[in-house]
């Protein structure tokens, strides 16, 4: 409750929430609100500029861009939610194991993390997606395989500091097992930085999916995905710029919305970041 009150004061964060809810409902109700079938070809109406019937114009095969953009919301949001969920679960599990048990487990995991962090993540994702072959599922696997590292690092750090706290010792003194201590006492204490990171990462992952799709590794035509649409519109950039402007705008607005919300959450959950606190 206090978190909501805190967020309410943060205008960009509230704007972010509104946009995310709006896009979320568009994604859910896409089949009911699209004016045209996003896959329907109409070669007589190719590359039309925005009109009343086609508010965002049509593409080189005469498909309605608005309908495709709406369906693209579905693809982008559901995929990034899936990827973030997977990396959160992976990162939290691995990070907690490393932090709580320490020793050899910790050393091995953290060296793997160091190696993965040494590569630019998008290149690594490119390689994995390239090896597995181009498809949306493979892009998700590729992103999941590289993105958990930052979570496991953050979680490990928090677990390391929390497991030394007296209340963990008190829990052990009352007969709690390791699993119980981790689940009941440690995880709730590491969750807030993870939630902030996950919100910020939603934006990054949407961008990465779009980027990989743009490069031809993700969604394959005719699937309406924003990155793929950008790629398809590229040859017509000069004559029909709306083919790139609208999907591009969608990507930008969605990523911004998640970033606003993530920043807001961080400020609300971390009292040290609050304005005026350091004076």
């Amino acid at each position: 409750m206090s978190l909501y009150l805190e967020l309410k004061k943060d205008k960009p964060a509230m704007l972010g929430i509104v946009i995310i809810i709006f896009f979320g409902s568009i994604a859910v109700f896409a089949p009911y609100i699209v004016p045209h079938d996003p896959l329907e070809l109409n070669l007589e109406e190719r590359l039309l500029s925005p009109t009343v019937d086609h508010p965002m114009g049509t593409d080189n095969l005469g498909r309605d861009v608005l309908s495709r953009v709406i369906y693209g919301t579905r693809v982008s949001l559901s995929m990034s939610v899936a990827v973030v969920t997977v990396v959160m679960v992976l990162g939290i599990t691995i990070g907690t194991a490393a932090g709580y048990f320490g020793g050899l487990v910790d050393d091995v995991i953290m060296r793997v993390v160091d190696v993965l962090l040494a590569f630019p993540s998008i290149i690594l994702a490119l390689v994995i997606a390239g090896l597995l072959g181009p498809s949306l599922t493979n892009v998700m696997i590729a992103l999941g395989a590289i993105w958990w590292v930052s979570y496991s690092r953050i979680v490990r750090g928090s677990v390391l500091s929390i497991k030394e706290k007296e209340f963990v010792e008190a829990a052990r003194a009352m007969g709690c097992s390791d699993v119980y201590i981790v689940r009941r006492h440690i995880l709730p204490n590491v969750l807030s930085p993870v939630i902030v990171l996950a919100t910020l990462d939603m934006g990054h992952i949407i961008l990465s999916i779009a980027a990989l799709s743009f490069l031809g590794l993700g969604a394959q035509p005719p699937v309406p995905e924003w990155g793929t649409m950008l790629n398809e519109g590229r040859p017509f950039m000069e004559t029909a710029p709306h083919l790139m402007i609208f999907p591009g705008l969608m990507i930008m607005i969605t990523v911004l919305a998640f970033n606003f919300l993530g920043d807001g959450l961080r400020d609300a959950l971390d009292p040290r970041m609050k304005e005026g606190a350091i004076k």
């Binding site: 008190a170 052990r172 003194a173 009352m174 007969g175 009941r184 709730p188």
Partner: protein, 313 residues
């Protein structure tokens, strides 16, 4: 009947600077219903002794000797068996009630934890038990306060909640590590009164670890004085105050505010580099050549009165 019998207990930590010898051959019995005070200066190993009883010391510690609880050796129990002792048979009350509570869980949830773990009560029944327990430690409006978080409690209330958490499974023994340190004097008095009352009602034994002799005198039947890693004097509260035998105990008593606030000369030795012979000899005005060489044994000087000093040999 003897509830807990500690026999020749040693606990050493291994650090880069060498072995820290925190507990060096402690023998101690706690009878059923007895309240034993373990007093000593900071860093004399009394907390380590308390933690050793529940096997809560970190893994770089070697613990030797025997800790018999109702005849069973705690040190040889399996992890599963020791977890059934912790909280249920022997509970611990920690020094700092704020850091000993999880900031993200409500007080009710935390006080309920031992009963959920050991008695497998349902949430609702457990909460009912918590409210009863909080009532018995005199927390006002317990049904409201169970929903609050630790930071919403005052220091005294938090310590009451900790006592409730310790007693909720009706353990046979409570280990209270400095339960009143960090509370202001009026609250301290309230907590002492409360502990006296709940311990009398439940018949629970207690090992009270403290550096505050007056607190121990209020709450305990017997007192064991610890000086780096050893018990140097053991006596009933009355005997200890009326007729202290060990030079250290005398010095300790003289350093109390109402007895003249005279400090003991010198500082207590480092646990890494303990002196040979009697550990107290470098600070003792009565030390002889023998004190420097031989380690004195506990010598009986009265009914249930033992002292580790050659003066009484």
């Amino acid at each position: 009947m003897t509830l807990l019998s500690i026999q020749n207990l040693k606990a050493h930590f291994h650090t880069e600077d060498g072995a820290v010898r925190a507990v060096n051959g402690v023998d101690m019995d706690i009878e059923e219903g007895e309240k034993l005070g373990l007093i000593g200066e900071t860093g004399c190993g009394k907390t380590v002794l308390g933690l050793a009883i529940l096997r809560l010391l970190s893994e770089n510690t070697t613990v030797e000797g025997r800790i018999l609880y109702k005849g069973q050796d705690i040190l040889t129990m399996s992890d599963h068996e020791i977890r059934k002792i912790r909280g249920k048979e022997i509970a611990m009350i920690f020094q700092n009630p704020l850091s000993s509570m999880n900031p993200v869980l409500t007080v009710g949830t935390q006080v309920a934890e031992p009963v959920e773990l050991h008695q497998h009560l349902k949430k609702k029944d457990a909460m009912q038990r918590v409210i009863e327990m909080l009532k018995s430690v005199k927390i006002p409006l317990p049904q409201e306060r169970v929903k609050e978080y630790p930071h919403e409690f005052s220091g005294g209330m938090r310590q009451r909640a900790m006592i409730a958490m310790g007693l909720i499974c009706m353990p046979s023994l409570i280990i209270a590590d400095e339960p009143t340190t960090g509370l202001d004097v009026t609250i301290q008095a309230q907590i002492i009164e409360l502990m006296k009352e709940v311990l009398r009602d439940s018949g629970t034994s207690m090992l009270l670890i403290t550096h505050d002799l007056t607190v121990a005198a209020e709450l305990c039947d017997h007192i064991a004085v610890m000086y780096p890693g050893e018990i140097i004097e053991y006596a009933s509260v009355r005997d200890l105050f009326k007729d202290p035998k060990h030079p250290y105990t005398r010095g300790f008593l003289d350093s109390l505010p109402d007895r003249g606030l005279k400090p003991i000369a010198g500082i207590s030795p480092s646990l890494i580099d303990l002196p040979a012979g009697c550990k107290f000899h470098p600070r003792c005005s009565l030390a002889t050549e023998r004190c420097r060489k031989e380690r004195p044994e506990l010598i009986k000087v009265g009914i249930k009165h033992y002292v580790r000093c050659f003066l009484y040999d």
